[in-house]
């Protein structure tokens, strides 16, 4: 029966693609990725777009520049320190670091065959800073805020200028929000209410990337076809990409084990060790070095506005046990660092000097003025229950020993984001990620300001001051000094406790090669090939 069905389908597929290559051939050149979430838009800058939508847009659109990749351990990871050209064949940075001149590839074409010009680049950047979208909030972290900063020099030359030499100005242009859109096509679909064609670009793509969209069914699947005219790099191996939504993790694992699907990056962490033993399956595990899981305190609300109390909790947590029980040690630890006062490097996140020491925790509790202990709640979102639930149980048990009575609160994702934004939760766990893993960026986004990402609502004058300086610091030695100081203050004040960087487990069939962990934590199909 099985063979019969396959043959029938082979016949059907051959009929569907007249004169196409034999099915065996086309299956080998097709990559089928299965994922639990959905691609909800083709325009990644749309508010509410999913991470999966980011992954698709990386492959459908080009940017001026992108990050390179480097080997780390057995696998590949993106390299934030190498910037390579995509649509720009070269970038000149003026000596003072304020002006970037991009020389566009002369042979680059959009999917409709029209050439990519500096006009398109200008229109795209005007859209990214002007339109109400996710792009504007991201790239303002690189000092990109106004359309006047972007200028067309000639058809193939484009200039972008910042007022002060922001360290993240160029890296921001590598992010997927800075995609270059075919302005002629987009403008023809713009309306008076919607000058940036945001409604049209949600369901349609107008890019120049390595893949074009063959079909897009939100919530079900996206099928991409290789753009054989792509000039942004070596032609990718796979001719066709199927990105299919399969909500059930067990089913995704079955599909890969049987070889019907090729790749999944969101299986359950607890299934991965067993899968790695199977002969047909390959697992590429990469610690997500631009992410971190933490336990955060609300530093603006009693009782955790008390530094001593936060230090007491930090000394009471059984780090190694939590790491084992919640994550099966599948990640890089961010505790147990062997330093005091000054960290060994300026990198962040790095292991912080946190160790379990109950005697010290009890002493700190007394100093903090809670000889009789206290009651609090510990919250996490339902989506992360697989790791957060065992963590919460251990937190509750260990804090009971120093007199803190913890009530565990499990909340739906929408509800917890509301409470976090309104700064109403005293004590919670979250995992977060920064696209641009530089220390001052982490500190600016996670440890200053009023946004949701400042999980501990921390407001420390010294940190605010240091981040403002580091952002524009061009001297590497001075920058390093500033960063080390920020990390030291964090270790002292413990607005939140860093736990670990979870692994990303990419599970694939043996033959898939070249998988690279990207800053957006999705699959860049251009990296992959079938051996």
């Amino acid at each position: 029966m099985r063979i019969g069905r396959r043959e029938i389908l082979a016949g059907a597929a051959a009929m569907a693609v007249p004169g196409g290559p034999a099915l065996a051939q086309s299956r080998a050149e097709t990559l089928r990725q299965v994922t639990g979430n959905t691609v909800n838009t083709l325009d990644p800058t749309m508010p509410g777009s999913t991470r999966e939508a980011f992954g698709i847009s990386v492959n459908v659109y080009d940017r001026l520049v992108g990050f390179g990749r480097k080997q780390q351990g057995a696998g590949w990871v993106f390299d934030p320190d190498t910037i390579k050209g995509e649509l720009a064949e070269r970038v000149e940075t003026r000596a003072d670091g304020t002006t970037f001149t991009f020389h566009l590839r002369r042979d680059a074409k959009f999917h409709d065959g029209t050439p990519v010009t500096a006009e398109d680049v200008k229109w795209s950047f005007d859209r990214h800073v002007t339109a109400r979208s996710l792009a504007a909030v991201q790239i303002q972290t690189g000092s990109w805020t106004k359309a006047e900063q972007f200028r067309v020099i000639d058809q193939h030359t484009f200039e972008a200028k910042v007022e002060r030499p922001d360290r993240l100005a160029l890296p921001n242009l590598c992010t997927l929000y800075c995609m270059i859109i075919n302005s002629k096509v987009a403008k023809s679909h713009a309306t008076a209410d919607d000058p940036w064609a945001q409604a049209w670009l949600k369901d349609n793509a107008a890019g120049s990337g390595a893949y074009r969209v063959e079909s897009f069914k939100p919530g079900e699947q996206v099928i991409l076809r290789r753009n054989d005219d792509w000039k942004g790099g070596p032609l990718p191996f796979f001719r066709r990409i199927i990105n299919q939504t399969i909500p059930e993790a067990a089913t995704r694992a079955n599909l890969i084990e049987r070889g019907d699907a090729d790749l999944s990056i969101d299986l359950q962490a607890s299934d991965v060790p067993a899968l790695a033993q199977r002969p047909r399956v390959k697992v590429v595990s990469t610690p997500q070095f631009n992410a971190f899981t933490m336990v955060a305190f609300n530093t603006r609300m009693a009782p955790f506005d008390n530094v001593k109390l936060r230090q007491a909790v930090a000394a009471a947590l059984p780090y190694q046990d939590i790491f084992k029980a919640a994550l099966f040690e599948r990640g890089a630890a961010l505790f147990g660092g062997d330093w005091r006062e000054t960290p060994p490097t300026a990198r962040f996140p790095q292991p912080m000097p946190m160790k379990t020491d109950l005697a010290r925790a009890r002493a700190l509790m007394a100093e903090a003025g809670f000889p009789n202990g206290l009651d609090t709640t510990f919250s996490f979102n339902v989506g992360s229950a697989a790791t957060s639930e065992p963590m919460a149980a251990l937190v509750k048990e260990s804090l009971a020993r120093i007199g803190i009575r913890v009530e565990i609160q499990k909340l739906p994702d929408a509800q917890i984001s509301t409470l976090v934004t309104e700064k109403k939760l005293p004590f919670l766990t979250e995992t977060s990620i920064a696209w641009l893993p530089s220390t001052d960026y982490f500190f600016r986004n996670f440890f200053t300001g009023e946004q949701r990402w400042n999980y501990s609502s921390w407001n420390n004058a010294e940190i605010t001051d240091l981040t403002a300086k580091a952002r524009f610091e061009r001297d590497p030695a001075e920058y390093e000094k500033l960063c080390k100081r920020m990390i030291a203050v964090l270790a002292e004040e413990v607005p939140l406790i860093l736990l670990w960087q979870p692994n990303q487990d990419a599970v694939m069939t043996q033959a898939i090669d070249g998988y690279t962990y990207q800053y957006h934590r999705q699959v860049d199909y251009r990296d992959l090939r079938r051996a």
């Binding site: 069905r5 909800n40 199927i242 929408a414 300001g449």
Partner: protein, 340 residues
């Protein structure tokens, strides 16, 4: 016929207040749920108050609730169900694309369930207390006890993973097969119209596992109801008379007894159908079935108001429709019954 049409029309009009009540109730319920959709959808490193306010304005959530309700009712009146933030599509489009998938699955499951349940129920009723009766009872109990996601995953594990008989449980049609041109949205019907029997086969084989999973779950109410009402009918006077007159046993059971026993079965069928349509979310999730129930669940988890409201309205309308059909079927099964 005019009588039936008039009756249907009256029933429909009398169900309008109920639909209106459902509309208002869901609308208010969504607004009192904790969790602010604007905050949920505002992401990005610096998504501050300005971005949240902007999304709130776009979703129309910045206005007072009574005004939102009036605007919502006006939109409904013009056939606009709003836009989903999760899929980025108009809700009406989403529902239109997904409803056929759910309906096709539910119809097939109901058909399988009926084909199994009615004969089983009759068999059990003919010999109450016998081995057959107990076997049927066991099967029904199992079907009800095992949650659909367990039986679904079990079927997948055995038939797909271990034996390799079933196709991969991923949606309505094999991903490498060609899809028939869309006419009705029901793949089996569309493939038949196009005369594309390979696609029909691909869709049908994809449908078997989820439909069986659901059928198993609703086997019990149907079979038990058939058994109970058959038992009652079989002891009644007219059956004894028929047997005394020497009518064949087959004729007595299938014509006289079954027809009289069908009324409660039809009632329960209507309820089972509506429940299946809304409650098959687990089956849809397990088999990656692109139906309306899993769509509504995803929307609910992210506090996306418009799709949830659209879904509830759709379900309420279907419920009204199904009840109407059930009433009409009563008349066919038993001409003495007329519901005004």
């Amino acid at each position: 016929m005019r009588g039936i049409a008039g009756r249907a029309g009256r029933r429909f009009v009398s169900s309008l207040p109920a639909l209106f009540g459902v509309l208002v109730f869901t609308f208010l319920l969504m607004r009192v749920l904790p969790g602010d959709p604007a905050i949920f959808f505002a992401s990005g490193p610096n998504a501050g108050q300005a971005e949240i306010e902007d999304i709130r304005r776009r979703m129309g959530l910045d206005k007072p609730v009574p005004e939102q309700l009036l605007l919502y009712l006006k939109d409904i009146g013009t056939g606009n169900l709003g836009r989903s933030m999760t899929t980025g599509q108009p809700v009406l489009n989403d529902l239109r694309n997904r409803l056929p998938a759910s309906l096709e699955l539910t119809f097939c499951a109901l058909l399988i369930a009926l084909v199994l349940a009615v004969p089983l129920g009759i068999l059990a009723a003919l010999r109450p207390g016998s081995v057959v009766d107990h076997a049927v009872r066991l099967l029904c109990t199992l079907g009800v006890c095992v949650p659909t996601f367990v039986s679904g995953l079990l079927l997948i594990y055995v038939l797909y993973y271990l034996l390799g008989i079933a196709p991969d449980p991923t949606g309505r049609i094999d991903i490498f097969a060609s899809q028939p041109p869309e006419v009705t949205g029901f793949l089996l019907v569309d493939a038949a119209i196009a005369g594309d029997w390979e696609a029909w086969w691909a869709a049908a084989s994809q449908l078997v596992l989820p439909a069986c999973t659901m059928a198993l779950f609703v086997l019990a109410p149907l079979a038990r109801m058939t058994r109970a009402s058959m038992l009652a009918v079989l002891t009644s006077d007219f059956i004894r008379t028929g047997e005394a007159l020497g009518l064949s046993r087959r004729r007595v059971i299938l014509v006289y007894a079954l027809r009289n026993a069908l009324l409660p079965v039809i009632t329960i069928m209507g309820i089972v159908f509506s429940t299946m349509l809304g409650a098959n979310v687990l089956v849809e999730k397990v088999f990656s079935w692109p139906g309306v129930a899993s769509y509504a669940l995803d929307a609910l988890l992210s506090s996306d108001y418009a799709p949830v409201q659209g879904f509830v309205l759709l379900m309420a309308s279907i419920f009204v429709l199904v009840n109407l059909v059930v009433d009409l079927l009563y008349g066919l099964a038993d001409p003495r019954v007329s519901i005004g």
